[in-house]
């Protein structure tokens, strides 16, 4: 009895060893970078973590197709290194000697990658399935690009300021023209009551730009010649 048990056990382990080895058919290499991801909160990789991994893979296979009844014992791990990398295969639950095709395993893991990552507190980069490329998350794109919105705001402000300045300039010029035409009309009638100091109306001396004293640049004919 004991001998039979020993024989089956050795056969099973040998079979298992043949199913799961580096570069075996339908086998995948997994690499974890726990210290990179978690730093001081890193957990050690031990048999319990391996058990969790087997459980997650079994869960993934079950979730992928309702037909399969994958057990934890169907998931075989081997060649665990210090890097924390290992190989695994999933054996067929109905027949213990064949492995589930790699494409099925790949599709299953792709579907549930997020759940597996979260179970180990890792991400796509730190929990790598070497032959299974992950679909990268697209960046969040708002409906209108952000830059157009900012551009629109700045453009409106600038255009408003330009319009304001131009209109103010036009109004100022109209007022100045009206004043000067009024004064010219009054002067023509000869009824000017503006205070005149040496031939210059006093208001113009208030102009900031008019610091040039026009009197002294005038011709000398107004003074009697010697």
């Amino acid at each position: 009895m004991l001998q039979v048990l020993l024989l089956t056990f050795s056969v099973v382990t040998v079979a298992h060893a043949e199913l799961c080895k580096p570069d075996a058919q339908n086998a995948f290499k997994v690499r974890l970078s726990i210290k990179t991801a978690l730093g001081d909160n890193a957990y050690a990789w031990d048999a319990n973590e391996e058990y969790l991994f087997k459980a997650m893979v079994a869960f993934t296979m079950r979730r992928y197709s309702t037909k399969t009844t994958t057990q934890i014992s169907n998931v075989l791990l081997c060649n665990v290194t210090d890097r924390v990398s290992f190989w695994f295969v999933v054996t067929d639950s109905s027949k213990n000697t064949t492995t589930v095709p790699g494409s099925e395993v790949e599709a299953a893991i792709r579907m549930n990658r997020n759940r597996i990552n979260n179970a180990f507190l890792l991400s796509d980069k730190t929990l790598q399935f070497l032959k299974i490329s992950s679909t990268l998350a697209p960046p969040v794109e708002p409906s209108t690009p952000v830059w157009l919105i900012v551009f629109g705001v700045v453009l409106c402000l600038i255009v408003a300021a330009i319009v304001f300045l131009v209109v103010a300039g036009i109004q100022q010029r109209k007022k100045k023209n009206k004043e000067s035409t009024e004064r010219e009309n009054l002067e023509e009638k000869g009824e000017v009551t503006i205070t005149i100091e040496n031939g210059i109306p006093c208001e113009t001396l208030d102009l900031k730009a008019g610091h040039i004293n026009g009197v002294f640049s005038a011709d000398d004919e107004r003074f009697t010649s010697l």
Binding site: W147, R183, G210
Partner: protein
């Protein structure tokens, strides 16, 4: 009746004088506005992106020696001369040189032409700064990561070959074509930003000195605030000290290299913006009794100090970026080795990397040999040695450093606002150089108000500037940047100096300055104007000419998307023709102006003699 006549006479004269005074020159509100305008114009992008490069190439801290010598021999005297001419003649560049000698009106026209070329292409930089500024309001910054390729399994191929910041600049900003011949279409996004940039410039120059005077308060002071913030941030960055030490250790053997001195002279010359007519324009709005000697010294010293200040910031950023890249490189090597040999995480660190490499080579020679081509030799010196200047430094290197900082959006916004202020400040000077002669000329100024003239100039420049928003636009930009202003300016300033000293007469000019400022002219200025500066400019001119002749065909750097790097190509024939046209159109104005005046005088003399 006699009294009424007198009063009418007086009134008529009064209205005539009123008209004269209304047309009198607008002035700056106070001398501070003038100094700020000059600083805002002189302190531009060249201080930020050209001086650090020169410092790095020509001996680090030792470069400051030729730089300061050139400042004293060339920079200050020429700046003082331009300001004095503008303040004395109280006209824009065309009018001022016409007063000095009627045969020299060509010099003024040449200045306006060069300023026109400059304003055409310079505002494109502001457009790029706007583009980056608007894109800084995202998390993460768009140049921080590569975009995904079409089936979302990896990153875009071009982005993989080069870095994400270079990809963002060359592909998403410029959408650059592989060579100058392939013009491509106008990029509407860049065209929009260019239009906005011109609208901003129009807003600032709309009312002449009234509006410009207020704007320069902001454009002159804001860059300093940002530089100080960046200095504090830069010095506290990890690895900044590496950059500072590497760059500032003087390599005094470079002083024996003539290129060092020539670069120092060229940098001082172009950094102060001499010869464009902007300084003359700004000074013409001064009160006649303004002390422009003091202001010239202040502006040139502040300009040089800003260059050095900006290079401290730039070197600390360089050091940070180089250290970051070096450490990433080391980490990549470590990861590669860890994965290949399945070693425990943390067993390989930067310190024991070399020993472990030897150990692995000894224990697993075959696998190590297989891995060897992928193992890069990481070197901090090599990272620090990458010297960049120009738009590459401003938009690629800085944005790469910014994306690695915390709160990168804030620093990005600050940085591009600073670039905008520097660029707009310089644009104000350029447009002033074009507009002042236009508003001075009676022909145009009487018919159109100031706003219309400014608007037309901005509009024409904007339309022409659309060339630089095409796919090949950056190549045309480089042509304009390298050739539009260099030779012409040297010639213009040379003619200016000779005109003031020998045609107008140094004694007469000295007397004018004495009336204006009230102090006797120091012998130092006289010696510099008469001998030192002209000799220096002549030697620079000869150097540039021999350089152009010796290099034979002119070449440019084109971006090759398939390789992900720049390649050197020759300019096609029509590009060389454009370069020749650019240089000729401004330099030919000087002799043409003299010729036209000569012919006109001859004709007038003949007409007078026939009448008499």
């Amino acid at each position: 009746k006699h009294l009424q006549e007198r009063r009418q006479d007086g009134a008529a004269e009064g209205s005539a004088r009123q008209q004269e005074m209304e047309k009198s020159r607008p002035l700056w509100d106070n001398p501070v506005q003038f100094v700020f305008a000059c600083i805002s114009y002189a302190v531009g992008l060249g201080n930020v992106w050209r001086f650090p490069y020169l410092c790095q190439m020509y001996g680090g801290g030792g470069f400051l020696i030729p730089y300061f010598i050139m400042l004293i021999v060339e920079g200050m005297p020429l700046l003082y001369m331009e300001l004095a001419v503008g303040q004395r003649m109280r006209q824009g560049s065309i009018g001022a040189w016409k007063i000095i000698s009627p045969y020299l009106c060509g010099v003024g026209v040449a200045s306006v032409v060069v300023s026109f070329f400059l304003s055409m292409y310079y505002n494109v930089i502001n457009a790029w700064a706007f583009w980056y500024l608007f894109h800084s309001f995202q998390d993460p910054l768009p140049w921080a990561t590569c975009p995904l390729n079409s089936n979302r399994t990896g990153y875009e191929e071009e982005c993989e070959k080069t870095s994400s910041t270079q990809y963002f600049w060359y592909r998403q900003t410029l959408n650059i074509s592989p060579s100058l011949e392939v013009s491509g279409a106008v990029q509407w996004e860049q065209a929009l930003c260019l239009t906005l940039a011109w609208l901003v410039v129009y807003l600032c120059i709309l009312r002449g000195t009234e509006s410009t005077g207020k704007v320069v308060y902001v454009t002159a002071s804001l860059p300093y605030c940002v530089l100080i913030i960046y200095l504090i941030r830069g010095l506290t960055l990890h690895g900044a000290v590496n950059g500072l030490i590497y760059m500032f250790t003087p390599k005094l053997e470079q002083l024996s290299n003539p290129k060092t001195w020539i670069s120092a002279a060229t940098q001082i010359f172009f950094s102060l913006g001499l010869g464009f007519g902007s300084l003359i324009a700004f000074a013409s709005y001064n009160e006649p009794s303004n002390n422009c000697e003091r202001h010239a010294i202040i502006v040139s010293l502040i300009n040089s100090a800003t260059s050095i200040f900006a290079s401290i910031v730039t070197f600390s950023i360089y050091g940070f970026k180089a250290t970051f890249n070096y450490e990433s490189c080391i980490n990549k090597v470590i990861l590669l080795l860890l994965n290949a040999f399945d070693l425990e995480e943390g067993s390989l660190t930067a310190d024991n990397l070399n020993e472990m490499k030897d150990y692995l080579m000894a224990t697993h020679p075959q696998e190590y040999a297989q891995l060897l081509p992928q193992l890069k030799n990481c070197s901090l010196e090599a990272e620090l040695d990458t010297a960049v200047q120009g738009t590459g430094l401003a938009f690629i290197v800085y944005s790469e450093a910014i994306k690695n900082m915390e709160v990168s959006q804030l620093y990005s916004v600050l940085y591009f606002v600073m670039l905008l202020m520097l660029g707009i400040g310089s644009m104000l000077g350029n447009t002033a150089a074009i507009l002042t002669p236009l508003t001075d000329s009676k022909v145009i100024a009487t018919r159109f108000p100031k706003e219309v003239i400014s608007g037309v100039v901005c509009f024409i420049n904007c339309i022409i500037g659309l060339i630089f928003t095409m796919e090949a636009g950056n190549y045309w930009f480089d042509i304009f940047n390298d050739y539009a202003a260099t030779l012409s300016l040297l010639l213009i300033v040379l003619v200016e100096t000779i005109a003031v000293c020998y045609i107008y007469g140094l004694r007469r000019f000295e007397k004018d300055l004495h009336t204006m400022i009230g102090r006797k002219l120091n012998w130092y200025w006289k010696v510099m104007w008469a001998f030192a500066s002209p000799l220096l400019i002549i030697s620079l001119f000869i150097f540039y000419l021999t350089d152009y002749i010796l290099t034979g065909t002119l070449q440019y750097q084109a971006w090759d998307g398939t390789q992900g790097q720049l390649v050197t190509k020759d300019y096609p024939g029509y590009a060389l023709a454009v370069i020749g046209l650019l240089v000729a159109s401004s330099t030919m104005c000087i002799p043409l102006g003299a010729l036209v005046t000569f012919v006109r005088k001859r004709l007038k003399r003949e007409r007078v003699s026939t009448v008499a």
